[in-house]
């Protein structure tokens, strides 16, 4: 039994070290960066501390009940234990159950009030609205606007201004996905045929990573997104830059790249506003060069990655919908030149 005591001690130490060592990171529920996640992390710590205390107390009781280990396994059983002793034990058990009920009641109230503060006023948040549609295996992001000219679509990278609540309208494109950015808020599912709504707010500028949380098929593991939170002016500038049509190719290589794009299979799935390419099966590439990552936040958006991805995306993300492309080196080079000019 000494062993068991040590193990428990080690487990507690381990738990403590683990919890302390990892408070940080851009993909962490315990490093809250917005009011939603703050509420959640307060609730978490309340439950964690109370539950740990309950665990320790019950374990102490178990160990104390094992004090006397001199038993004879064939000893005469006690079928009528002393009344007085049983009565005392009943009192202790009833007290323990009462305490359990009280603790659960406290949790219930804490949970309700956290829940209310998180959904309260969803309909009154007049700030920015972002529409997200889940696809196998990337995120379509649309910024609606009263003026049709200002509506634009991008993918996998969501810019939001800091300090204001942003409403997310979540739709399922094919199968069920789940939108989750742990530093900012809890998750909500994107379900075909339904619209799910949530809001979140970032208080600090920064990049927050999220990943699809509902199993959605072969590449569920490679379906991440970034939320880029930035001050309002920066956000406005970004938004402005995204609304226009694409930048026309300037160099010869870029012009050739555009021709490659428009004459190969690319055009069957991708759109580049301002060109004849208008399909919306894959991510919109109008401003692809302005994004930090490609392939649903899997690869850094560099020249090499872009070229490798176009040539054979299946090595990075087997099963994704993009076919292999047998472009000549020169064509590929021009195509990448063109795509990299689409700021």
């Amino acid at each position: 039994m000494i062993d068991m005591r040590n193990t428990t001690l080690k487990m507690c130490t381990l738990a403590f070290v683990l919890c302390c060592s990892s408070c940080g990171g851009i993909h962490n529920a315990l490093n809250p960066s917005g009011p939603q996640a703050h509420n959640l992390s307060r609730l978490w710590w309340l439950m964690f501390i109370v539950c740990s205390a309950v665990f320790v107390i019950v374990m102490i009781a178990v160990f104390l009940s094992l004090r006397n280990r001199t038993g004879d396994s064939q000893a005469t059983p006690q079928i009528e234990p002393p009344r007085e002793q049983e009565r005392k034990r009943s009192n202790v058990v009833v007290t323990a159950v009462t305490i359990t009920v009280v603790i659960l009641f406290v949790f219930l109230i804490a949970s309700f009030s956290a829940g209310r503060s998180m959904t309260a006023g969803l309909e009154h948040k007049n700030g920015l609205t972002v529409e997200i549609t889940g696809h196998q295996w990337w995120w379509e992001v649309r910024y609606p606007d009263a003026s049709a000219n200002n509506i634009f679509t991008t993918a996998n990278e969501i810019h939001i201004p800091i300090g204001v609540p942003v409403t997310f309208s979540l739709k399922g494109g094919d199968v069920i996905h789940s939108f989750w950015v742990p530093n900012l808020a809890g998750k909500k599912d994107l379900i075909p045929g339904k619209i799910n709504t949530m809001w979140l707010q970032a208080d600090k500028p920064g990049v927050y990573r999220g990943q699809c949380a509902e199993y959605c098929g072969l590449q569920h593991a490679r379906m991440a997104l970034w939320i880029v939170a930035e001050p309002q002016e920066q956000f406005n500038a970004w938004r402005q830059s995204q609304t226009g049509t694409s930048i026309p190719p300037s160099s010869d290589s870029q012009k050739r790249g555009q021709q490659v794009f428009l004459t190969s299979t690319c055009v069957m799935c991708h759109a580049i506003n301002g060109t004849p390419a208008g399909s919306n099966i894959g991510p919109n590439l109008t401003h692809v060069a302005s994004r930090n990552m490609i392939a649903a936040a899997t690869l850094v958006n560099t020249r090499e990655h872009l070229a490798q991805w176009i040539r054979d995306s299946q090595t990075f993300k087997p099963g994704n919908k993009m076919p292999q492309n047998n472009l000549s080196d020169a064509d590929l080079n021009s195509l990448v030149d063109y795509l990299q000019s689409l700021k």
């Binding site: 529920a29 978490w44 019950v58 374990m59 280990r69 323990a96 199968v175």
Partner: protein, 678 residues
Amino acid sequence: MSQKEAQNEEPRNEGRPRAPLVERIDVDREELADVMKREKEELERTWARPTGIIGWFIDTDHKAIAKRYIITAFIFFVFGGIEAALMRIQLMRPDNHFLTPDQYNQIFTVHGTTMMFLFAVPIMTAMGIYLVPLMIGARDVAFPRLNLYGYFVYLIGGILLYTGFVLNTGPDAGWFAYVPLSGPGFSPGKRVDIWAQMITFTELSGLAGAVVVIGTAFKMRAPGMSLNRLPLFVWAQVVTSFMIIFAMPSVMLASGFLASDRLIDTHFFNPAEGGDAILYQHLFWFFGHPEVYIIFIPALGFISPIIVTFARRKIFGYVPLVLSLISTAFIGFGLWVHHMFATPIPQMGQSLFTAASMMIAIPSGVQIFCWIATLWGSKLNIKTPLLFVLGFFAIFIIGGLTGVMLASVPLDLQIHDTFFVVAHLHYVLIGGSVFPLFGAFYYWFPKWTGRMLSESAGRLNFWLMFIGFNLVFFPMHQLGLNGMPRRVYTYLPETGWGTLNLVASIGAFILASGVLVFIINVFWARAAGAVAGDNPWAADSLEWATTSPPPNYNFHNLPVVQGRYPIWQATADAPVVRGLSTTSRETLVTSVLDAQPELCFDIPGPSIWPFLLSLATAVMFVAGIFTPWAILTGAILGGIVLTCWFFGDPNYKNKTARETGKRSQPVRPAPELRPKEV
């Protein structure tokens, strides 16, 4: 309360007159010995089990069927464990290429499906099928042929799943196969069909097992075993069986609708045609959450007898324990929506399910407190079964507490569908079910085989499993909070999830070595274990009142129960049931509440029809993967077999039940039921 209990000890008999239960007669000792010997020979002949290959297909002995169930389920447990090990190797480091994404997705789906449907539920039912008749003093289960049918459909379902898996047609949509991912549009091929039909097979087998257990426990108890004396193990089995009967139809709808969406183009779950993807989730989880308790409640039934035996005193709080089991079962049906908090469900609806999910912690708490109160102050001699129960306390309480966290809607939205949930569900299911199950193996192995498992290997087994388990699953809580979703085949190095995953993978191998020690221990004990005797633990319930292993007819004379602890409370001149035929498979049918003898009844014996019916069922559902006509063909074949089963049976005529009063002879004293000094 103790006063009330004392009152309940006496079986109630107000309301209807009956003949005195006990009649004393004087016998000549020598004559008695002769009669006993002759009866024993007759019983051996009457209850002889068929041998040979044919015998395997027709044998209806509940112990043989249960053993087969246990061994088959344990083999599936090992398969599931190997799949888990493969997944842990894949996740050992970021960007690992040990498995392809397709292999990984098949493996985690088959792992979950195996552990839930082919291991956990069947093995818990099997424990009941073996032990319930022995604990209540019956010759066999109530419907031995239905029982045999249940085993065969289960076996066919398991073989179907693994045939698909080996042929690279393993299901890959997760063990709850959410639509539309599992629908015809996104899972072409036959993978999900195999999953859906396998579910149908295990549902059938689960329902058969549940009916068998309820029938046996309610109508075949030894005289005197009124419901308030029913062993807690049997209570747990009865409660579980009722849960199975209410939960299974729901998943039958879910998997049936899914199969017809895929096979005959219905649109139950297709939003584009007016179907609803959320409907599937409701139907599945209305079964899926009670399923957890279907696995967990039988394990609670293992814990009580083990604690009573080792604490060497009566259980503290029999009535609260029974009520806790029943209330767990009721509340268990009211919290399925906590699996769906991330879907658009109004807050008021969610709140109800939060409250229910938290409420279910109360009966669990009551049980744990009662067990601690039973252990408190007892002089203990800690043997392996009790060690596993203590391991259960440590692990299950963590799982229960994280369960309370998951019940809270806002917190659930953070940790739902992450590795936190993976940690939670393994803490609950391995801690809550597998640890008690291993304790139960060590506890009842002597009864099954007549030999003891090695104690020192048992301790090694426990510590390897305990340490390994915590190493695998404790870090997963942290991984979940750090944002690692479940069911990912790999992760980027920048996420920083590598170290904890490595720790978990190392733990997995320690856990696996613990299971390996157990398997070696079993083979060693079969060959060279110490001979156990009838009652090696000096325990209290009736299964220990017969030989180890028990004879085919379980008891020479069915016992008469005098208290909640039949062996401990048996008086020197404890009566037994006399007058049952020894030349036909006759057993006693007793009343539901007070277990007063009502009828004598011939239990059906070996038959080939259950096996043939399971083949007809297989035609219906396996061929049903490919063509809807198979349903019709299978139904016709099944109808023919059932007709033969009921009317072509030579035993049928003898099944006429007879009034006890006319046939049975007085109950008289016999030496068998005395507490044995081992």
